[in-house]
Amino acid sequence: MTRARWLIPGLCLGILVALVAACLLGSVPLPPARMAAALLGQGEPGDMLVVWQVRLPRALAAMVAGAALGISGAALQGLLRNPLAEPGVLGVSAMSALFATVALFYGFAAAIPFALPLAAIAGALAATAIIAWAAPRTRSVVTLILVGVGISSFSGAIMALLMNLAPNPFTLADMVTWMMGSVANRSLDDLALSAPFIGAGAVLLVAARRGLTALALGEEAAAGVGLDVARQRVLVVLGAGFATGGAVALAGAIGFVGIVAPHLVRPWVGYDPARVLVPSALLSGLILVLADIAVRIIPGDTELKLGVVAALIGAPIFVMIAIRRGSAR
């Protein structure tokens, strides 16, 4: 219990340190004193630009998107009672990215305010709803993950079609960035556009957390202890849809962070699905901030995509959990 008490403060501290590090590190050297001055709004114009227009917004975007994916992953895992459920694996991110791409490249995003996050959320909700609809009809989570693979492939195919139709190479490059996930060139305005939706989703999920513990007993027994299972499902679908959609609108489709963070947090909180939520959000925010720092300081001509780094770390862990579960059962 005492260990658990230090988990959340520890993670908050970690995020703070990582955000400072993100402001310090980069291609332009910026000593701590100048960085601090710029952060407080008293630095030279050049430093101010680097901190406030480039490094901080990008780090914050990584943190917020990571937190959204982490809490969505933890909540979906609780709902589906499986540690392999995650917005990326279940096709939620892919569908969301597809809808966002359509909004972006057919000009809705420019014409209507909030069209981009709304489209991303619509995509995320569509996929989450399909998953939640299929879940009670199949007892097997493998089937469910295959449904997710189906949604991903379908979204991928439509995305490929859009690429074929891309009017010019620049649009094509933008689409690729979107699919792979990146927080490069994000501004505080982009953040402000997505944050309300991510916040709303997180509030819904935190409100539904008690039911996630009850679901550990199975749906029948959860109903037996007094959980309205249908309402619980709607809350989690909406919450995960809003949070994931917001994250995709901000950073594109970043997979696997939603698996890694809850997996690491679980032993610390006694595997209680309710107590996993908030630390998962914090840890996965921290992971993405660190991953984004890595992306920026790894030397090379072209920058690695954040989603690629996340998958390089996350996919092996996914496979490891899957194999371990297989041998345990």
């Binding site: 009672r81 499986n82 957390r209 008690r210 513990t213 009850a214 679901l215 550990a216 007993l217 199975g218 029948e220 027994a221 109903a223 037996g224 202890v225 007094g226 959980l227 309205d228 299972v229 679980r266 006694g270 595997y271 209680d272 699905p273 309710a274 107590r275």
Partner: protein
């Protein structure tokens, strides 16, 4: 006037043309232990689900404390009756104490947030089921017998006047079977009502106040062990020949004559 206990009257239920229940009836009052007997696929679980309001019968009525349980919220229902379904495995290796605390869910409690009354109920339930030493163990490290006891403790923690348990002793060794049945029996002796599905006729004869015999969606007969634990009803329900002996008040069933 509200009738304490649960009551199902002439309930029929079919899903996709398969008849699960055919005018089945059942009642349970506080202070009695009713055992529901019947072969696999007889519709026992369906009958429990109807009684609990988890399924609504096509025709017939279900009443829980005099009201239709299907119109109650899950929380209202859970405060009147605790349901222990067949599946005992948990999705996560959460702590014993936290599983038992889930019995307090209908009172707005969560394992991370227990009011004084909740803590007290959990502590009592853990003690009653002799789980004090296991309280902080993860559930995946428990034996089947221990896990069955954890679920009984969860039911006791809810302090609901009724317990409905679907095969609570399935796949347990004799010692643990009796342990679980004794816990349910002492709950009934304290004034609770329990409806238990069993497959072991000797165990049923030993602990039940009343038996309900079920086959092909119908409740054929209900009554005391002395009245209904007979070769006639055993053959009618299970399709097997059996002899029943009674010595010193103990009923023993020998299958296959």
């Amino acid at each position: 006037m509200s009738e304490a206990g649960l009551l199902v009257e002439a309930a029929s239920l079919s899903i996709k043309r398969a008849v699960l229940l055919d005018r089945a009836s059942l009642n349970l009052r506080p202070g009695e232990l009713v055992v529901l007997l019947g072969p696999n696929g007889a519709g026992k679980t369906s009958l429990l689900r109807v009684a609990l309001g988890l399924a609504r019968p096509d025709i017939g009525t279900a009443l829980l404390d005099g009201a239709d349980p299907a119109t109650m919220t899950a929380g209202q229902r859970a405060r009147l009756v605790t349901y222990l379904p067949q599946m005992r495995d948990l999705a996560w290796p959460i702590r014993v104490r936290d599983v038992v605390a889930l019995g307090r869910f209908a009172f707005g409690a969560a394992p991370a947030r227990l009011a004084d009354a909740d803590q007290l109920a959990v502590a009592h339930a853990l003690a009653a089921c002799d789980l004090g030493d296991l309280a902080d163990r993860a559930t995946d490290t428990l034996s089947g017998g221990e896990l069955a006891r954890v679920h009984i403790a969860r039911a006791l923690a809810s302090q609901a006047p009724l317990i409905v348990a679907d095969e609570p002793v399935a796949s347990l060794d004799p010692r643990h079977q009796h342990q679980v049945m004794r816990l349910i029996r002492s709950f009934v002796n304290r004034g609770g009502g329990a409806l238990v599905v069993l497959h072991d006729l000797d165990l049923a004869a030993l602990y039940a106040d009343r038996l309900v015999w079920m086959n092909e969606g119908r409740t054929l007969v209900g009554g005391s062990v002395a009245e209904t634990m007979t070769p006639h009803w055993i053959e009618a329900v299970y399709g097997i020949e059996a002899s029943v002996t009674r010595t010193n008040g103990a009923t023993r069933v020998l299958v296959g004559r």
